[in-house]
Symmetry: C2
Subunit: 180 residues, 2 copies
Amino acid sequence: NVAHGLAWSFYLGYLNLVLPRLEDSIAEFSAKNLGDPFQTRGFRKLLILLPVNANITHKLEDADTNIRFYDNLPNTEIDRAGVRGRVYKHSVYRILDENRQVHHCVVEYATPLLTLYKMSQESSAAFGERDRREQVLLFYRTLQDILDCSLECRNRYRLILLSDENEDDPHFLSKAILKN
Amino acid sequence: NVAHGLAWSFYLGYLNLVLPRLEDSIAEFSAKNLGDPFQTRGFRKLLILLPVNANITHKLEDADTNIRFYDNLPNTEIDRAGVRGRVYKHSVYRILDENRQVHHCVVEYATPLLTLYKMSQESSAAFGERDRREQVLLFYRTLQDILDCSLECRNRYRLILLSDENEDDPHFLSKAILKN
Ligand SMILES: Nc1nc(=O)c2ncn([C@@H]3O[C@@H]4COP(=O)(O)O[C@H]5[C@@H](O)[C@H](n6cnc7c(N)ncnc76)O[C@@H]5COP(=O)(O)O[C@@H]3[C@@H]4O)c2[nH]1
């Protein structure tokens, strides 16, 4: 089961490395940014977006004009498997709510869903569009189970499963993020 | 099958992004480094190490004193799934052969093997040491098949499968790399 391995990979090779450092990263960012954006209306967890159709954009503002890129958190550099100082970073977005108030969030899509999407497009991967949706849900459930048992990652993230029913609402994404 | 998904993830999420840019990256590096290390005895492909026991070190010099970190190739920054300017880089190593000649190589371990290794250590992953070896070999074969069909990646890499029989030779790794 592809999703099972990708969920473990996402946890062991990414979330377990970056989530314990997130608080410090946000603190360092706030120290450098006058009027600490996270102190007013900011959310100090990593928001991880999981669209059920695995339809991922590379720039969140392309999906919703109420979302704007603000800045990146400071880089984390880790020696990994022969790559010296491999860089891990997160992006901070300014998100407008329905009252035009600004919120700052650290948000990104779950990258492994890109793999599921592209596999469903590659005939040689033996993986169709119907498998894809099923695998996204399996990825979500497996990841939930793994993270529920992880002491180091506790309370440092929020998994946001995005259904594809309201995609014609131009502000569907910002609302889904802020609901959390 | 965990290895199947990890091989596709490694190709779709990494090799297919970085291998087409490798030649330019090396050219940019050579332009900045007097006495272009790659012109003398250098290898202009990405050498990807796959130890069958998935035993990966984060710094190659820890595995063999004939290997020394030299420098990193220039960063590549790509907007990926909401992360703005995600950084991709490779490390260049100076490797001594048995005649004490220096060779420069772009080399790294296949990071997904770290996931296989750690899964075999996590009881909740339902994945034992024996599965691990089998999965490394499946990862290798699947990756070979994918890359054989990839026009964009052709001739820009070398997969080096490392058996665990000669691990007591202190220069096993440098010899295995240079044999290629
Ligand atoms: N958002 C995000 N930011 C990151 O920096 C990051 N790094 C990893 N991941 C995701 O975590 C999981 C585990 O990563 P691993 O390194 O074992 O496999 C990685 C790794 O073997 C290789 N790879 C990707 N980016 C790099 C990189 N910069 N340097 C070396 N190898 C890389 O290709 C695999 C798939 O990458 P992604 O498909 O981007 O998703 C990964 C993966 O799902 C990331 N996700």
